[in-house]
Amino acid sequence: MPRAESGPTALKMNQTEPAPGKWRRWVRTISPTCEDSARLLSAAQDRPLTGLERLGLRVHLRLCRWCRRYAQQLALLRQVLRSPDGESNLPAGELAAADRSRIKQALREAGR
C-alpha cells in the first residue's frame, strides 16, 4: 500500500474528482464512508461503539479532515452544552404580563 500517500495528499481523496485510483478504491473498501462515519460519531455520543465500529471510524478519521472536524464539533457541543453556564444557557423569553398577573392571582387565592 502506498504509505507515502497518507500525508496531506491523501486527505484530498474525499474531494470530488472522477477516476478512482487504486488507492481510493482500497480506502473505500476498508473505511466507512463519511455518511457512515457521521452516524458512528453521533452514536458514540450515546452508546459504546463495537470494536469493529471503532476500528472503521479510526481508519476513516485518519484519512478524512472533514470528519475529523465533525468529531471535534460534536465534542465541543457536548462540552459546552454540559457545562454549567448559569443563566446564559437559556433561550430569550419572558412571562407575558397577563400570565404574570394570572399567576400572582393564583398564588393569592391558594395562599388564603
Binding site: R24, S42, D85, P91, L107
Partner: protein, 209 residues
C-alpha cells in the same frame, strides 16, 4: 388542578413556616418568573405549557410551606420546576409522530454525495468547516448560546426537546426511549439528524459571523 404528580422536592421536607413569612410568594413571580419561564421554555418548546409549569412550580412551592433557606430561593424553585418538567414528560407518554421520525431525512441525504465513487462523501459545500477561530480558547459563550437557541428554535419542537434533554439535561437514552415511545434506533436517528442540522446551522449563524 395542577399538582397531581409526585411531591416536589423541598416541598415535602420544608419546615411548616407560615406561607409568606420569609418572603411574599407574589414577589417570587417578579424575582424569578422570567428565569423559570426561560428554563422551562428551553425544555418544553411551547410557551403556554412552559407558563403552566412555572405556575405549577410556584403553587407547589407555596404549598410546601415556603423557602427553607438551605440554598438560594432561585435554586429551590428551579429544583421544583425540574420535577414538574420531568412529570410533564412522564405524564405526556405520547407517541412520537411519524413526522418527527422523518425529520431531516432528506436533509441528511443531501449532505452527502449520492452517486458514483464519491457516494457517501460529504458534498463539498456541506462539509464541516473549520471552527477553530470561534471555538478556541476564548469561546464567547454568550454568543454561542444565543446562536444555539436560535438554531434549536429552527428544529421541530419535539426534536428540540429530545436534543436538549439528552445533551443539556443528560437524560439517559433508555429513559428517553421510554417517555417518547420509540426504539433506541429511532432515538439515535433523531439525535443524529438533530446534530447534523444544528452543526450546519451553527456554522452559518455562529462560526460564519
Amino acid at each position: 388542578m395542577a399538582d397531581e404528580g409526585p411531591r416536589a422536592p423541598g416541598a415535602a421536607d420544608a419546615p411548616r413556616a407560615t406561607p409568606g413569612a420569609a418572603s411574599n410568594p407574589e414577589t417570587w413571580v417578579d424575582a424569578h418568573g422570567d428565569y423559570l419561564f426561560r428554563y422551562a421554555l428551553a425544555r418544553v418548546r411551547d410557551p403556554v405549557r412552559a407558563t403552566d409549569l412555572v405556575q405549577e412550580t410556584f403553587l407547589a412551592a407555596l404549598k410546601g410551606g415556603g423557602f427553607a433557606g438551605r440554598s438560594t430561593e432561585r435554586t429551590w424553585l428551579t429544583g421544583i420546576l425540574k420535577h414538574k418538567i420531568a412529570d410533564h414528560f412522564r405524564r405526556a407518554g405520547r407517541e412520537t409522530p411519524f413526522t418527527d421520525l422523518e425529520f431531516f431525512r432528506e436533509g441528511e441525504a443531501a449532505l452527502f454525495e449520492r452517486e458514483g465513487w464519491s457516494k457517501g462523501v460529504w458534498q463539498a459545500d456541506q462539509a464541516p468547516g473549520d471552527w477553530s477561530a470561534k471555538a478556541g480558547e476564548e469561546l464567547d459563550r454568550a454568543a454561542f448560546w444565543q446562536a444555539f437557541w436560535e438554531c434549536v428554535g429552527g428544529l421541530p419542537p419535539r426534536i428540540a426537546e429530545v436534543f436538549v434533554r439528552r445533551e443539556i439535561d443528560e437524560v439517559e437514552c433508555d429513559e428517553l426511549c421510554r417517555t417518547l415511545g420509540v426504539s433506541p434506533n429511532n432515538l439515535w436517528v433523531m439525535l443524529h439528524r438533530a446534530r447534523l442540522a444544528l452543526r450546519r446551522c451553527l456554522e452559518n449563524n455562529w462560526v460564519g459571523k
